[in-house]
């Protein structure tokens, strides 16, 4: 008896009809696509994107060339040279991040004792020629200056969980 029922079911394309009605139902459902450049998904304040070097409000750069970030970087993407400045403080003479090596793990930011190196939430950037993937100290500081408000805001939002 069950065999006959099975025969009839397959003869009337029962399973296939079920499948077809399911896909037809999805045809009218709301679409999940985000039309990217026009629409964007929300980003967490912890988003790890392009790097930046921050300054204190008085304009002094935060980085003290402790090289903790260089040491912790698992991809060895950070290169730092340091020297003594005229006023006797230790500062970097060279601070470079190779963005092709960087895996955006955020360890540099976590290791930084003075909150100097940070990862901003900028993720829409590109390089147009070979070698541009290495961010110099000037570029990183410029990014920090440009987006300081947003960087500080994100850190403020996340502060209570740190």
């Amino acid at each position: 008896m069950t065999k006959i029922i099975r025969y009839l079911k397959s003869l009337t394309l029962n399973e296939i009809r079920k499948g077809l009605f399911l896909t037809q139902k999805y045809f009218f459902k709301r679409k999940f696509t985000v039309r990217y450049p026009e629409e964007k998904t929300p980003k967490s304040p912890r988003f790890r994107g392009l790097h930046a070097l921050r300054r204190y409000p008085n304009g002094e750069e935060r980085c003290i060339a402790c090289k903790l970030c260089e040491a912790v970087c698992p991809a060895a993407a950070i290169t730092i040279d340091s020297d003594v400045r005229e006023d006797g403080s230790r500062r970097t003479t060279k601070y470079e991040i190779d963005l092709f090596k960087c895996i955006y793990c955020g360890f540099c930011e976590e290791s930084c004792p003075v909150d100097s190196i940070v990862e901003t939430d900028i993720h829409e950037y590109h390089f147009e020629s070979k070698g541009k993937n290495v961010m110099t100290k000037e570029q990183l500081l410029a990014i920090g200056d440009m987006y300081e408000e947003q960087i500080a805001g994100a850190r403020q939002q996340d502060a209570k969980y740190r």
Partner: protein, 337 residues
Amino acid sequence: MIETLKFLIFDNLIYILAIVIGVILTVAYLTYFERKVIAFMHARMGPNRVGPWGLLQPFADVLKLLTKEIIFPKNANKFLFLIAPIITLATAFAAWAVVPFQDGWVLADINAGLVYVLAMTSLGVYGVIIAGWASNSKYALLGALRSAAQIVSYEIAMGFALVGVLVAAGTLNLSDIVRAQEGGIVNWYVWPLFPLFIIYYISGVAETNRAPFDVAEGESEIVAGFHVEYSGAAFALFFLGEYANMIIISALTAIMFLGGWFSPFPGDSWIAQPSIFWFLAKTSIFLYAFFWFRASLPRYRYDQIMRLGWKVFIPITIVWIMVVAVMKVYHIGPWWN
């Protein structure tokens, strides 16, 4: 001489051009339609970047394909390699000659239209086989073998389904087959020939190598099957041929089972008049079903395809031809009394 020339140009060439350009444009927008339908069933958007709602996407695709290089594989037979897509396309277009779009709107009103269509759609398999052979590639050869076996098997079921129509209508002329179904939805052959209708359409899907019968392409197992070595314009021809075949299968299903150009509810209002509009609407339903299947069903295993063709479809069609013949001869049932 002048008379013949006039006849050739004004009575044939213009119609041929109209049909061919119409089919090509339909194919172009069919690809767009396919991508949209499948995307919607996946809860995606589909192409929406080129032009408003992505409506210019087909032209972008065509331009890209035509500007690409045709690469000849090493040791490939160049003549066969080039002739294969042409065969596929030519047979797909040639079948349109006997399709009646409306009463009297048919290029060649020959009395063996059904046989001609069957011949043209089965000749298309030569394109696939030659392409697979000439490519000198194992994937292409495997795809061609699968396709050959599959099309030959389903051809029989398809032919038997058409025999049912032939018995019911008593004519091979496609226009006369449509005229025999005049008088509203109840007179359409889809009711007395329902199993044949289902089998014809499924065999048509198998015949055009579309999902879930796309083992000849099988992109997940044999890359792209018979046209794996084709690129640029040659690939575009295969693509065009495949989609033209899909349209012709849909059109034939509409003609033979859904009463072609007749409206389902005959009446006096303008919409109920028999017109090309009804023919195109019915064709579109089946075209939609092609994509619906593709979005819903996984590919059949190869032995399952063979089993379905030989052990399910052919017996059912034979039995139903008997039933139709008995109903017709002894004037039984609601249709032939």
